[in-house]
């Protein structure tokens, strides 16, 4: 009978999920909700999973938390919001995790974070950058610098170096992040007294931007601000140069455009491209150097910003556990996380502001000789 078979399958599946390691008194379970399958989200998710697990292993080895042992429990949501909510419910009510790191996508965060917030389980995101995520509730934090935290620094640098009077903006209209980035860019430009002479948009999957760039060229701006992901930005920069927009017209990009792909696809056209970030691989601090080494040794490839932000999230949590004197009181633990001040992380000194947004030194990076380097 189909029915009996289905029941048996269900029982088997439940047994498997229950067979997860039994918790010892000194175990602190960390829920890690990152997409490791399901399209491009998996790229970011895998990096964050690795970064978080590496941090947990390092903290356990260091003995910093005494007899408390961090036990990461990773669950893959495949970038699907429904699954994220399923996982949150199970992690909170069945696995009884102390904290959740994730989820990978902002849309998942909007759906799942309220559940954790109501259950008083802190959530520390390391890739959600759209506005409004920590505003979900008192227990929601993030280490991923939103565009608003990094772009003003980039613009200030550009103003100092190039004294631009006019700017053009081009951004992805159907992407949550890019639409938000556009608003941030516009506000910063207005504040700096730079006139926006052209505003153009594109859609996900576009590959030809010549119509928009021709209009921008006609407006002859001093700088061009792009709200796009790495691939889109690379195509825009390359096609702009092909259309004859001179190298002296500097491009400023969104945080999400930071990727080695940008250089691979745009080549010399992207020389001088400016972007702001919370982290970059050559960031010269002992903590970061050790992190990059350890990451390469463990996973065989170089970490990216998301891995670093996830590593920082676990570091922050461990520090808060120490200051709160354990994990038995969720309110105390939450307060300790919120009180994080100038903590040394791979991102540099890290604090949370009163809205649970990250406060860190924004690094202005310039694409020079095929590599993102600290702008001088």
């Amino acid at each position: 009978m189909m029915h009996a078979r289905l029941t048996r399958l269900l029982i088997a599946a439940t047994a498997i999920s229950l067979a997860a390691a039994p918790a010892l008194a000194a175990d602190v379970k960390l829920g890690i909700v990152q997409s490791t399958s399901g399209g491009s989200a998996a790229l970011y998710g895998t990096m964050q999973k690795n970064g978080a697990e590496l941090a947990a292993a390092e903290i356990n080895a260091s003995g910093k938390l005494g007899d408390l042992k961090l036990v990461p429990v990773h669950q893959d949501d495949a970038g699907d919001r429904g699954q994220t909510v399923n996982i949150f419910q199970r992690l909170i009510n069945q696995d009884k995790v102390t904290v959740i790191f994730g989820p990978t996508l902002t849309t998942s965060a909007f759906a799942a974070d309220p559940i954790a917030n109501a259950a008083k389980v802190p959530v520390i995101a390391s890739s959600n950058t759209a506005p409004g995520v920590p505003a979900i509730g008192e227990y929601i934090f993030r280490t991923s610098a939103p565009e608003a935290a990094v772009f003003p620094g980039v613009l200030a640098y550009a103003v100092k170096r190039y004294q631009p009077k006019t700017a053009a903006q081009i951004y992805g209209i159907d992407d949550v992040l890019m639409k938000a980035a556009y608003g941030v860019h516009k506000a910063a430009l207005d504040k700096a007294g730079i006139k926006v002479v052209a505003t153009e948009t594109f859609q996900k999957g576009d590959v030809d931007y010549s119509a928009q760039l021709t209009k921008i060229k006609a407006a002859n701006p001093d700088i061009i601000v792009v709200g796009g992901l790495a691939e889109e930005t690379a195509n825009i920069v390359r096609q702009a140069r092909q259309l004859g927009i001179p190298q002296s017209t500097v491009f400023l990009g969104a945080n999400a455009a930071i990727s080695t792909k940008l250089n691979d696809l745009a080549g010399p056209a992207a020389q001088g491209f400016l972007v702001g970030s919370g982290w970059f691989i050559d960031f010269d601090t002992p903590a970061n150097k050790a992190f990059v080494e350890a990451y390469k040794a463990k996973y065989g490839n170089a970490p990216d910003t998301f891995a670093a932000q996830a590593h920082a999230a676990v570091t922050i949590f461990a520090d808060a556990v120490k200051r709160a004197g354990g994990v038995s009181d969720p309110a105390k633990l939450r307060a300790a996380i919120a009180d994080t001040k100038d903590l040394e992380t791979v991102l540099g000194p890290f604090s949370f502001d009163k809205d649970r947004e990250p406060v860190l030194v924004a690094k202005v990076l310039e694409l020079k000789d095929g590599k993102f380097q600290l702008a001088q």
């Binding site: 189909m2 399901g38 893959d76 699954q83 909510v85 009510n93 759906a111 209209i173 159907d174 949550v176």
Partner: protein, 293 residues
């Protein structure tokens, strides 16, 4: 007993809700499939219902039940307007036209910031959808479909599914019946959209695209269009699958694809045809009843 149920729902409540919600959606799509309308408009109708009901509850403070019904009615009205021209198309063209509708709704949702929140979507939606409401609605849907299949109307739909030219010749108003089914399907999908929007605090344009329409179409087809419980089985199977295969981590998507492929290949009448499965010899002697009751 109650305590055990509470503990179960605390951990698996969302999964149960998703199963129920998708079951409702599957019956909505079934209404269209019953008369051979392979609709990809489900995502579009869901979006119309979702945004409408969220607007009503959040901006105008309307009661939840009113908002969901209004969302369904608006989706039904839209189905009526697009159904009239689109239903003159057949097969592939009908599918393409309904797909185009879903895309148009998605693009409107992306750009009409005041109502839909644009690309970011709407978050902080109050949670009104409860499990008991969904259970009740699924029971109502089941009874409705059960009654429909036995009615005169149901027999004429079955005739249309077999051969619409013949049915027309026999005096069945094929266009009228298809239109009313399409509108009913729109109503159910719109209502489900409203329920879904008030379940997980958030709606965004990417929730109701082509993928949603294809998923919804797969539920009744996988479960079996000809059996009363087909859509229910298909919806629950497809919703549980990713969770049941969670242990396989990286293999999960491959296994899911393989399982679905297996059902499609070996059970072309849907999973419910397992119940009427007979050894090959007997089946070969029987006249083919593929697609019949």
């Amino acid at each position: 007993m109650m305590a055990a149920l509470d503990a179960f729902l605390a951990s698996y409540g969302n999964l149960v809700n998703l199963c129920l919600l998708n079951t409702l959606l599957a019956y909505g799509v079934w209404l269209a499939l019953a008369a051979n309308m392979f609709t990809l408009g489900t995502g579009g109708f869901m979006a119309v219902g979702a945004y409408c009901s969220v607007y009503l509850t959040m901006q105008l403070g309307a009661p939840f039940a009113v908002a969901v019904v209004a969302g369904g009615l608006l989706a039904a009205a839209v189905a009526l307007v697009i159904g009239a021209p689109v239903l003159r198309l057949r097969g592939d063209y009908f599918m393409l036209a309904t797909f185009a509708f879903t895309e148009v709704v998605r693009v409107i949702a992306l750009n009409w910031d005041a109502v839909t929140g644009g690309a970011i979507g709407i978050y902080g939606i109050p949670r009104y959808t409860e499990t008991w409401q969904l259970v009740l609605l699924v029971l109502i849907a089941l009874y409705f479909v059960f009654a429909l299949r036995r009615s005169y109307f149901g027999r004429s739909i079955a005739a249309i599914r077999q051969d619409d030219v013949m049915s027309e010749a026999m005096g069945v108003n094929v266009f009228g019946q298809r239109l009313s089914l399409f509108v009913a399907s729109g109503f159910v999908s719109g209502g489900v959209g409203g329920l879904a929007a008030h379940l997980n605090f958030f709606v965004g344009p990417s929730d109701f695209g082509l993928l949603r329409s294809v998923d919804a179409l797969a539920y009744p087809i996988l479960g079996g269009v000809n059996a009363l419980l087909g859509p229910l089985v298909g919806a629950i199977f497809t919703t549980l699958l990713p969770e049941l295969l969670r242990f396989s981590s990286q293999w999960r998507e491959i296994l899911m694809g393989l399982l679905i492929l297996t059902v499609v290949l070996f059970l072309p009448g849907g999973a419910m045809s397992l119940l009427s499965w007979r050894p090959r010899k007997a089946a070969a002697r029987r006249p083919s009843t593929q697609g019949a009751e």
